[in-house]
Amino acid sequence: MKTWNIALIGLGSVGRGVAKVLLGNDQFRVVAAADSKSGVFDPAGLNIEEVLAMKKKAGRCGDPAWPAARIAAEAEYDILVEVTPTNAETGEPALSIIKSAIMREKHVVTSNKGPVSLASSELLRLAEQNNVGFLFEGTVAGAVPILRGIKYGLAGNKIKALYGVLNGTCNYILTRMEEEGLTYVQALAEARDLGYAEADPTYDINGTDAAIKLVILANTMLGMDVKLADVKRTGISDLTVDALWMAEETGHSIRLIASLYPEKNLLEVSPRLISKTNPLVVSGTLNAVTVETEYAGAITFIGRGAGSVETASAILADLLFIADKYDR
């Protein structure tokens, strides 16, 4: 069996998850790694545990003369795994790094929403021209195989509508407001304490994160051509405890729902009233998406939408897909 050489760009939470998952799989070998300041490579395979220990101790994983962009452009590898944080405005530096890898006829797997939401059609075209794979299952709903589920599982079905919970942070906050009567501010503080919300949670709570995922779904799975600005967004910061309590009285919850109606060209992220018996009413940080299809009816995907090993699960699936499809 062929061993595939991996260049791992990004050693944060997801990067560490990928390292962990790949240790249990002898089909893949990490030969290069980079963080935001430096990089390291060894054609014989890196000892990833040592690399991570080095990063923890020194604050960087390797040589500053080999930053991520140089690793991507010059090191020898088969598949670039790009798992750095999302830059929603420009997609950089990930976008340039991904392009340079594809131009060198390297496969690319990413969980970075920036480049995919901004330039999916260009990147997919480039990948096709270079006969390499460009896969990004981890960008939407973390471990949940929503992209592959739509593309292959529901192949041939026209998608009439797609809607659901695509942001675990908001879902956690709303669940806690509903269950414990916490105010929005209290629930957000708790989410931060538990590491479910980032230091600056603006993109989560104003609906931008969910909107970016909607754009990825629209452009890559539904044949649409939309931008982040096309998504009407309303966040959850103005929600009152009274609103959740009133919803409860009639057997409803309030959830931040991302919705997409391809025929009406309508994309929206907003808090919605939703029956508690609807499968989309999931608790905590879970994600859930219902896809209304032509023949299969409504299908709902539920699972963990974020997390280190969970996102790595989606990346591993992409890697195995490449190993299966491209025999080189």
Partner: protein, 171 residues
């Protein structure tokens, strides 16, 4: 003189050609005025019959006569109601509802016999804090409901209210 009353009928039709006519013909002959007909091909009863919701305006005394005529034509009547606003939606509004003239908000949505605000619960935590309201709108059909929702959305923009709309059903 007897006055006309609005009556909603839910009819079940067999899924074969000519059935809608079998339902409409007796209604037309009875002298009733048809207000709305809602016929969704996708919604079927457990037995596989097509469901048609009709709201008519007719002299009360002639209703029994009409029902008999429908049955003769093979049309099953599964529900009769005087409730003509058959479409219901609930919303939650958050914002300065009183400062922005709540009466005006309700009046602009209310259109007698077409779409009405049938329920309004409001919670005010303090004078300067935003209040929260639960608002139920009933309308004659989807069309009138959509008009009412459009109005509500316009008001929400104008008065800086957050409007929480319903999505999906239960299981």
């Amino acid at each position: 003189m007897q006055k006309n009353v609005r009556t909603s009928l839910r009819l079940e039709l067999k899924d074969k050609p000519g059935q809608l006519l079998a339902a409409i013909e007796p209604i037309s002959k009875s002298g009733a005025n048809i207000i709305t007909i809602s016929h969704q091909r996708d919604t079927k009863s457990v037995s596989g019959a097509l469901i048609v919701d009709i709201v008519i305006s007719l002299h009360e005394a002639r209703l029994v006569e009409l029902m008999d005529a429908l049955r003769v034509n093979g049309v099953d009547i599964v529900r009769i109601g005087t409730e003509h606003l058959t479409c219901t939606k609930t919303f939650i509004l958050i914002g300065h509802l009183l400062h922005t003239d709540l009466t005006d908000t309700v009046n602009r949505i209310d259109k007698k016999h077409i779409a009405e605000v049938t329920e309004l619960d409001i919670v005010m935590p303090g004078m300067e804090e935003p209040s929260t309201a639960k608002l139920t709108i009933k309308a004659m059909s989807e069309v009138e409901m959509n008009q009412a929702v459009t109005t509500l959305k316009e008001i929400a923009v104008e008065k800086h209210l957050l409007i929480i709309n319903q999505i999906g059903g239960g299981i």
